[in-house]
């Protein structure tokens, strides 16, 4: 069974090429496969949709450019939804490099929905220290942010004028790719009982199911796929939905590789081969 051995010893670079092509081709020749909406994303959408016009939400966009692929389209989609429902957004970030991204997400969404700075939203910008800021807002928002990103005192901004802590907010939305999400659960939700919706990278998504079940989270938007679902819910077509064909194809390639790799190993073992090198891992008990 030499062909099996040859297959198992295939140069990794061929696999890399395959993946690269899988990501690029659907972008060049899109198929526009349908995007199904999953319950947790719908729950997040419904929670925001149920807010009466004039409600205020705190939106913290805690990510840096390295993972913006997943969270930036999500930010735009959520913001557009809020603006459409005339929900007032107080936006901030806990990452210094998130400032530019946050501002861009807001201006993109505001332009699309005709929202106006200070009337429909406020942009507070960056403040350092996760726990410090979250606890600080619970105590006194102005202690953390005396002025907004542009230097306007919060009292001069209609959106923030009557907001002093979580108590005057109808919801906290956190879009993050790090442990910031855990701290929002621990502090904004746990300590101050703010209703919380989280959007996160797909990697993190499965970890938050216990919090959904315990209603500590009202909804969960996971990764670029979650963003694509949200885009579909608000009926827009952004970067997340554009990437979904490539997503499907590369997933198929990875699944194919797992199956072929295992099948080849199986055949080579049955024919008495060594299985193409040592096992590279062992399960520890």
């Amino acid at each position: 069974m030499t062909w099996v051995r040859q297959l198992l010893a295939i140069d990794r670079r061929i696999i890399f090429l395959l993946v690269g092509a899988g990501a690029a081709l659907p972008l060049l020749f899109p198929l526009n496969l349908p995007v199904a909406v999953t319950p947790r994303v719908r729950a997040a959408y419904d929670a925001i949709d149920a807010l009466p016009p004039g409600s205020k939400v705190l939106l913290s966009m805690d990510y840096e450019p390295d993972i913006m692929a997943e969270l930036f389209p999500m930010s735009v989609a959520v913001l557009r939804h809020c603006f459409r429902k005339h929900v007032q957004v107080i936006a901030m970030t806990l990452y210094p490099a998130g400032t530019g991204l946050g501002e861009r997400a807001i201006s993109t969404a505001a332009k699309a929905e005709g929202a106006v700075l200070n009337r429909d939203y406020a942009w507070l910008g960056y403040k350092s220290g996760f726990q410090v800021v979250m606890i600080g807002i619970g105590e006194n928002l102005r202690g953390m942010y005396p002025v907004d990103f542009y230097g306007t005192p919060l009292d001069s901004i209609p959106v923030t004028r009557h907001v002093n802590s979580y108590a005057q907010l109808q919801m906290v939305i956190n879009l993050s790719g790090s442990s910031a999400a855990d701290y929002w659960i621990q502090f904004a939700q746990g300590r101050y009982h703010a209703p919380l919706v989280i959007g996160c990278t797909a990697v993190m998504a499965t970890d938050y199911y216990p919090y959904l079940s315990s209603k500590q989270l009202l909804g969960l938007i996971g990764g670029m796929k979650g963003a694509a679902e949200y885009e579909r819910l608000i009926d827009t077509f952004g970067d997340a939905r554009r990437g979904m064909d490539a997503q499907s194809l590369v997933h198929l390639i990875v699944v194919g590789l797992v199956i072929v790799g295992n099948a080849a190993l199986f055949i080579s073992k049955r024919s008495g081969g060594d299985g193409g090198g040592p096992a590279s891992g062992s399960m520890t008990r």
Binding site: R13, F16, V19, G20, A23, A24, L27, L28, D66, I67, M68, A69, E70, P96, A97, Y126, K127, S128, Q131, I185, Q186, F187, Q189, G190, R191, T201, A202, V203, A205, T206, D207, P210, Y211, S213, S214, K215, Q216, G222, G223, M224, K225, G238, D239, R242, G243, A246, Q247, V250, H251, V254, R285
Partner: protein, 204 residues
């Protein structure tokens, strides 16, 4: 704008070249990245922490209480010399003490009690009860797996075995989702190269 795109595209390709093998381009990108990241973080701390939390309150508002964290910070710097280890220990002691103190009630509330309360809520009616029961079984058996003070034998051993199956399904779920996340990031990078750099894709 174009200069920026070209540099970014060049650096993107430098890193991708690592897939072929380690090479001077990757090494250059790696060393540039390390220096740039360290410099950026230092500058950010300077502008966002040292200026607003130390400099301004001390020199403009004359808040002397700021001298305490300043002293603790300077004591930390003493670590740069071998002899300063004893001095730096005080800053570490404070820093570690604070974060331990925050962790105790934080974890107890959000991670333990909240989860216990939800696990203890009555079963859902109808078919939901089957799922509720499965969740309970999974929870108890995984806890059994992580029970260290008895060997995995008898009932406890059997429970731990079931627990590991639940763990594996959970790992599989995380795994699938992680693949999804990484693929998304690759797609965005390819989008950047094809759209912003080579202009073969239409704009957003």
């Amino acid at each position: 704008m174009t200069l920026q795109t070209w540099i970014a595209a060049f650096l993107t390709l430098c890193v991708f070249s690592f897939l072929y093998k380690d090479n001077p381009f990757y090494r250059f990108a790696e060393h540039l990245f390390v220096g740039a990241a360290a410099g950026y973080l230092l500058a950010v701390q300077w502008q966002n922490v040292l200026i607003p939390n130390v400099w301004t309150p001390l020199l403009h508002d004359h808040k002397l209480v700021v001298l305490i964290p300043l002293a603790l910070g300077l004591m930390m710097l003493a670590r740069a010399w071998d002899k300063g280890a004893g001095i730096a220990r005080w800053s570490l002691a404070f820093y570690v003490g604070i974060y331990s103190g925050v962790a105790i009630p934080g974890y107890m509330q959000a991670q333990i009690f909240a989860q216990l309360a939800d696990a203890a809520k009555p079963f859902a009616p109808g078919w939901g009860a089957v799922n509720s029961a499965l969740v309970l079984v999974g929870l108890l058996t995984v806890l059994a797996y992580f029970f260290f003070s008895a060997p995995h034998k008898g009932v406890h051993g059997a429970g731990a075995r079931v627990g590991i199956y639940f763990l594996m399904v959970a790992f599989g779920a995380s795994f699938g989702y992680t693949v999804m996340a990484r693929v998304s990031l690759l797609i965005a990078r390819v989008q950047f190269l094809l759209r912003d750099w080579l202009h073969v894709l239409p704009g957003p």
